[in-house]
Symmetry: C2
DNA sequence: AATTCTATCCCTGAAAAACAGGAGATTTTA
DNA sequence: TAAAATCTCCTGTTTTTCAGGGATAGAATT
């Protein structure tokens, strides 16, 4: 059985690299490529590949969102996340949104082909680094923020004061302050500065 | 004349992609590749290629630093910076450290080969996006921070208060406050939160 | 030699954030 | 349905930041 593989990545060199890696594999067929989410969706209207290798960072929308959309429209297509970083939050969100695997861009030829073949069997493939990142952080950190907390956090990062946030969200300043206190506690930050740094480093905003 | 090209990039897929792109070019010869700065330097002790394609993000040291070192030791080697982002500060630093060109990873085959051939002639090659980024920001923003201001900024981002910073640097709290005010002014930030966000986004810390 | 830049220090007063310690109402979920 | 989570609001106090000045001394530049 031959698996057709499609690639979404905004870097031509990466597309070329993957193509060059996979072309030797007899069990894998090149379905095509897209450099952004829009042309990926356009392609899928015409035909559906078996597997999509999907970069997390796309110019028009995040791979995490695209993954969700594609899986809703074409549930039978397997998606493998692709990125340079093994950030736990990314990997987790990608898997939550229906991805079947996650591979880092420094993966070897063996890893990549194994990922595709395993996923085709309906299994899940996580590269060593990815699964380690997932394991390490699932047990520890990565706090769960509520919808409102995320909302407040983003406005704080945008440089708004409690007062401004309160007006924007039509709630009391004291409420905003409470959310802020909870954010500080959840992210183990002692003040605004560390809160913003932690939030950006964790890619929460 | 045949140009030998060496690549330093920590992503196997990118190396494969570049190799696949350049192998069709008769005027270009593949010298080899390294996935970190250390093995790059080790390779250069044995032989020197004509051109090095060098990623900005390397696991052991930044491409910007590596560029400087290589140019000091082997001034005749041409270096082309390689990265996913067209951040003005990165491009500028790379060029200041002796690079002859800068190419983004979404470059086409034509761009990449042109970059190599132009640089071989002793010319400078900047991809369209790179030169635009350079032009746009050189005229505007990118504030110049003094050594002390950078120091204070880093401690602020680390979540320290003026008081703590003052004790750490053995200066008065009012001095720290002055630096802080200057930072807010220079980065056009209205408070700590936006200061931290801007600093991290500009990769100042 | 004069100017600019940098780093240092000081002041006042207002605004904002951090910290402590509650509590009621609604939604989710087990 | 009962428990847990979430969102909401409150009263205080203390600490930190922000805004607005001004000032001195040394280093670098013109």
């Amino acid at each position: 059985m031959v698996a057709s593989v499609f690639i979404v990545d905004d870097h031509y060199m990466v597309i070329e690299g993957i193509r060059s890696i996979l072309q030797h594999e007899k069990s894998i067929e090149w379905a095509g490529h897209a450099s952004n989410a829009a042309s990926c969706l356009a392609f899928l209207k015409q035909q559906q590949p078996d597997v999509i290798l999907m970069d997390i960072n796309l110019p028009d929308k995040s791979g995490i969102d695209l993954c969700k959309e594609v899986k809703e429209m074409y549930p039978s297509v397997f998606i493998i996340g692709l990125s340079t970083f093994n950030q736990q939050s990314f990997i987790q969100k990608m898997m939550e949104n229906g991805a079947s695997g996650y591979v880092l861009k420094n993966a070897t030829q063996e890893e990549l082909t194994e990922a595709v073949t395993e996923v085709m069997k309906g299994k899940t493939y996580l590269s060593l680094e990815a699964s380690q990142a997932l394991r390490k952080n699932i047990s520890a950190e990565m706090p769960v923020l509520t919808r409102r907390e995320k909302e407040v956090l983003e406005l704080i990062v945008d440089g708004m004061t409690n007062n401004e946030i309160a007006q924007k969200l039509f709630i009391s300043v004291t409420t905003v302050d409470t959310h802020r206190k909870n954010l500080l506690a959840k992210l183990s930050a002692k003040n605004t500065a560390s809160l913003v740094r932690i939030a950006t480093q964790m890619h929460l905003v």
